[in-house]
Amino acid sequence: PPCKARIYTNHWAVRIAGGPEVADRIAEKYGYRNMGQIGDLRDHYHFFHSRTIKRSTLSSRGRHSFISMEPKVEWIQQQVVKRRIKR
């Protein structure tokens, strides 16, 4: 069967403890923009990187990837497009 290629976007979900200011500072440091908390999920933030490919079959690699080494970054996930159908 044809393999389903994953489509990576230029959006990330990041879990950073310490509040929005800390998140803003780290986002700025690696070229992201903090788009705010994800819904009601405390310490989870939506980061957007305008200088990476908007849609790609490869996950994004570059200087911005070092954000995962920040001690305060507990978890990070590049967002993948999911196929969702209206029923």
Binding site: P1, I7, T9, H11, A13, I38, G39, D40, L41, H44, H46, R55, Q77, Q79, V80, V81, K82, R83, R84, I85, K86, R87
Partner: protein, 767 residues
Amino acid sequence: DFKQAPLLSLSSPHCNDDVHNCQSDMNIMGAWKRGYTGKDVVVTILDDGIERNHPDLYQNYVSVYVSLHSHSFPRHGTRCAGEVAAAANNSHCIVGIAYNARIGGVRMLDGDVTDMVEARSLSLNPQHIDIYSASWGPDDDGKTVDGPATLARQAFENGIRTGRKGRGSIFVWASGNGGRSRDHCSCDGYTNSIYTISISSTAESGRKPWYLEECSSTLTTTYSSGENYDRKIITTDLRHRCTDSHTGTSASAPMAAAIIALALEANPLLSWRDVQHIIVKTSRAGHLSAPDWKTNAAGYNVSHLYGFGLMDAEAMVKEAERWKQVPTQHVCVESADRQIRTIRPEHVVRSVYKATGCTDNPNHHVIYLEHVVVRITITHPRRGDLSINLTSPSGTKSQLLANRLFDHSMEGFKNWEFMTTHCWGEKAAGDWVLEIYDSPSQLRSQKVPGKLKEWSLVLYGTSVHPYSTGHIDKPQFADLDEEFPEEYPGPCDSECSENGCWGPGPHHCINCLHYFLKFKNNTRMCVSECPSGFFRDDRKRCKKCSSSCETCVGSRSDQCTTCRSGFNLIEGSHTCVANCPDGFYLDNSNIFRRCQENCKKCTASNICTECKPGMSLQANKCQMTCDPGTYYNGHRRTCEPCHRACATCTGVEACTKCADGYLLEDWRCVLTCSATYYLSEQTSDNGQVQRCDSSCYECLGPGERNCSSCNSGYNLEAGACVVSTICKDANEESWAEGSFCVLVKKNNLCQRKVLQQLCCRTCSQKG
């Protein structure tokens, strides 16, 4: 004591059903009449947004519960929202089920959907939004296995834990629409989550819509449009329009969300689990047709197509009004079975796990089940060839996965969580049986067979009966509360099941061990057997037989098995009657048995006393009435002529009267008497021929002394035939012997046959 809300007078042009005056089996009107319209409840539609200024919606539309994007083509969302909260007293399209609820919309489907987008939508304003309705999901193509990723999962858990001020957000989800592509909604992680209320659809006819998928995680059902011959769901549409082309489970989910909104208005304190319990208790199988309806061990009817059945808004708000929160949820994660088993084509792998329900850990101890999750890891060359069943200790079988014809994936399942609701209310402890079938749909390489790597059970439920703390099921005797303490320490009546009781009597049981009688005042009494005059139905309830039955198998008058006194069963029907109907007789076992054919009245099977018209009674049998000179031939069932010598007869050799010039001799008509017969002269016999005495060969009259000739070996002596032996007499015999015959005669012993024969001459001589 319900609130006196002004009653709506419906004047919708789309409701011209004057027979049921727009009553729907979901009893929406009943809930409205109790004053519930969704007031103070907030529902949001996770979709492609809502048209803000639709005339039916804008009164209830609240932008603050909307995601930040502008709405471009919110068709799907607008339709869903209309079913929930189209305002009342409008003249445009319809009225929403919760026409006073506030409605928002999250536009999330017409851009890239990612884990983050889902999580943001599912966790939007959980302290203000009560119900999230989602009419979307992974592709229903029959080959996708997908579900909430990390963030979306966290959003569910967060909403359940903290939403609605800790009572838990309500997530309503449209179950699958991939019926035609043989999809199974167990491969949809959203409907398979215990946190979502998975909604199925049925058409008004109660038949399965073409798009519907089966699966064990479906909880309940609402109407949707079905086939073109079914009536349609009507709802709001784009550009201020109205449409009837909204179909599929996506029409059902918002309907369910609106019904839940009514229940939340009736009792805002309901937790997310309370809502699911109420749905399980009030949903009804009704007229929904499904091949697999079954009653689980807790007495609930459930099917893979419709869950626990059609939602009942009125019943839900009634339950909500007096509901007491269910005990805290316990989660018992049973240890995993990691024994690797090969799954061979055309074979079944059966694995039995003895669950304890975590008895050793009171904080995790589960006795009464809610959801059951089975976490399974399987490798397999073609996933669609797999089907999986789980059977609970009480014997309830759930189909966790059906074959999926189009699923050619080689990925198998990695820790996939299948979920069933079918064991709701059953006991957790006992043997759970997992069966995995491999049924190849086409040729497949045998090199790499499937393997069950690991499976484990996660049991959700409570350690005390969810309704035992004086719950709503308690008998409604006002004085009972005073009479019995809140917690009845026992003992319970022997007819109570293990669920316990709140009083000593058989009518204080929570559930019955065997059967129960229900009284007009809604109380129940447990019994070991249904009393006479009652039969037990498939829900263990004793129902009344028809008045003439003593015992029966159904309530109709033709379903008796024994009769009350004064009534008797009619053979061949199960009907009891007081009087013996024509054509029947009462046999010694008091059953009205059928008389023989053509018999109108009889006293026994072979004794007819009155024949049906056109038949004549002959020797207790009914035969066709034949003309004189003919007789009824039973074999040919026709009248046939008698012998020409007979005037009347009952058979070809059974004359009853002879023609002129003939004599009746032994059912035959003869011209002259044959030997051993004589012609009697009695008038009554009209010259009938009689048989001579058996000692004569020929005779002149009746008796043994009218013989005229004898059979060989006999001599005729004075009209009688005696044995022709040489007679001994006194003269010839030696003195000693001669004197013997003299003595015989003298002692009058001649009438002894042996002596008479011996001394026949002496005995025959006079004097």
